[in-house]
Symmetry: C2
Subunit: 350 residues, 2 copies
DNA sequence: CACGATTTTGGAAGCGCTTCCAAAATATCG
DNA sequence: CGATATTTTGGAAGCGCTTCCAAAATCGTG
């Protein structure tokens, strides 16, 4: 096995200095067409590949972005949601010549803060993409800002959004649309299975939902709100609680698809017909919403796009040296969409 | 922001040479207790963190392992399956001080081979973990072996398993157990929705299933075999094909949970009651199997454990310098388990 | 065409670490 | 106790690249 060619081999082959090759490879503006071609030809001929380690050491960047997900020690992660974001991030980072490393950490212990900070300090990555609930940890975000470290938030709440580059849908508006859709369908008694209180974006969805109810002349007593943790299991349990009793809600809004699937499960178990007896809605439009029976009416979030958009913002920020944290519009909204399937139906007003 | 301490700072603080610090940090055997302590104290005092880039450049290793998944350009990946493996791999790699990067590539185009080889060549990682169908690409595996590159296979078929370190369940035996269970339940007409032919492990499951049928005195005409692609969608379509007509199978065995969920969907649509009219089984025991209604009888694979085991084997191989490819037992079987849920039931022999 | 302004190129100094080699210190043994 | 084997330490040479600075080439202008 012969030694891999180095930049010096290329320089020799092209008859130029090492520094010139480096410039060509890094698309520096100051190179003549003639030399550029010679170098490129030599690269081709030798099948030269840059050594990332060396490049990183010399340039003091890692060309790696880190994606941080929540995963309780035991809970299965909200996989479809995470996978979709990861896939988008992966595509975008690869496209820009960056690597992507994914980290999961337990948001219920405080250790995650130091873990995140140490990722940064060890120069393991050039920037961070934070997903909920980390994207709402204002204290940590403050620290990151202070050390001038680039990061982008996904689905952050309003406070965090104002301060930092972020991508997400307009959760409040999504809540409004979902609410008015259900009101239009004739529903008057609602249940809401939300997320943990740290998840600001899920709370926004509820605000929007309430707004829609108010607009329709309904008060807060028209809705029963309970707090889940985004797992299938919590959907099962909380739906059992909400659907017991004769005057149960006729529409159950869930803050993600997994909990909606759990609610569906419970409805089946206690013999309620969905959507005849009760309408159920999810959120995210992950594959879960089509796997269950009946398929879920839900809000489509372009998760893949969110992942790639976040990555691109991050990379732009890294390259622009603190361009990330300079003035400008931080908040990137991506479009959402109400997807009607068979888990909801019109309900005659009693 | 003050400059980060380097190994030279530590050396100066401890009053020793740089090389000595390096030795202590890398747990080299030849260091005296006295010096080791001085160095460790200095490290502590300065809050020194090694610079990975520099270490990697100097030592010509990356301390990163790569995990390779299949993802068609458009198809949503088989997320739960992948996520579980990834989680296991992540835990194990972190534990051993390694990074993990995940790569997805499209197995339907041939480009993936050069992509995988280039991962290796660019010294982006010290080793590879291959999942199906890549773990069955004997040609590529041969190339990897030739360049002496460490890798571990997950759920590979028998040919590949013999040659390389691998982890997985005994797929054939799982097929046998599933088959005899269904035979015991009284089923006599079967359908099998398999994977693409490159997936050797899925083919093994079928072999086991057939063996169980033969043992029960049933011939190959007792089973209709069709080839899916592990997606929910293909489960829907192929089940529609198998379940049409009056004398449809009474038991439908699917090579993964997603396709089983699709089969369930079709059964619902065409008005068949599961499990009364037809029993359906999945494979893997991903969360999907509990999300659908009725919950799926399936084979539990310890995916997380498989991910971590593969990672550990790989790291052991990397550290042992070709210990990976030396003699010894390559095949690591992990236990599987038949999980009975509500998608299967006894069937009276007609 | 000469001269300063600008662009392109080459030389050389690191980036922070590992590792080879030889020197120093310590242990072993007749 | 001296000579030799062994272990521990220090010095120095890179790993392959980027980037600063100055030299060389090119351009623009009166």
């Amino acid at each position: 096995m012969t030694r891999k060619p180095t930049i010096d081999d290329v320089a020799r082959a092209a008859g130029v200095a090492r520094a010139t090759v480096s410039r060509v490879l890094n698309a520096s503006p100051n190179t003549s067409e003639r030399v550029r071609e010679k170098v490129l030809k030599a690269v081709e001929a030798l099948n030269y590949q840059v050594n990332h380690q060396a490049r990183q050491l010399a340039s003091r960047t890692s060309r790696v972005v880190a994606l941080v997900f929540a995963a309780d020690a035991e809970a299965e992660p909200n996989s479809y949601y995470h996978s979709a974001i990861e896939l988008g991030a992966m595509r975008a980072s690869t496209e820009h010549g960056y690597g992507l490393v994914t980290h999961t950490m337990d948001p219920t212990t405080d250790a995650y803060r130091s873990k995140i900070l140490s990722l940064v300090n060890q120069s393991r990555c050039d920037g961070l993409i934070l997903t909920p609930p980390f994207s709402d940890d204002e204290e940590m975000i403050g620290e990151l800002r202070e050390c001038g470290y680039p990061f982008v938030l996904i689905s952050a709440g309003p406070q965090a959004r104002g301060l930092s580059p972020s991508v997400g849908i307009d959760d409040r508006q999504a809540g409004v649309e979902l609410g008015s859709y259900l009101v239009e369908q004739g529903h008057r008694r609602f249940g809401y299975i939300g997320g943990p209180s740290e998840h600001r974006s899920a709370a926004l969805r509820l605000e929007g939902l309430l707004e829609a109810l108010h607009t329709a002349g309904l008060g807060d007593d028209a809705i029963d709100v309970v707090e889940g943790n985004f797992t299938f299991k919590s959907g099962i349990d909380l739906a059992a609680q909400l659907l017991s009793g004769a005057r149960h809600p006729t529409a159950l809004v869930c803050a993600n698809d997994d909990m909606a699937a759990g609610a569906l499960f419970t409805a089946h178990r206690i013999g309620l017909n969905v959507p005849v007896d009760v309408s159920i809605t999810g959120f995210d439009d992950t594959p879960v919403s089509q796997i269950v029976w009946p398929p879920l009416t839900t809000i489509h979030q372009p998760l893949r796009q969110m992942g790639s958009k976040a990555t691109e913002l991050l990379i732009a920020g890294v390259m622009g040296e603190n361009g990330n944290h300079s003035a400008g519009t931080f908040e990137h909204f991506v479009p959402f969409e109400l997807v009607q399937r068979d888990s909801t139906a019109k309900r005659a007003v009693e």
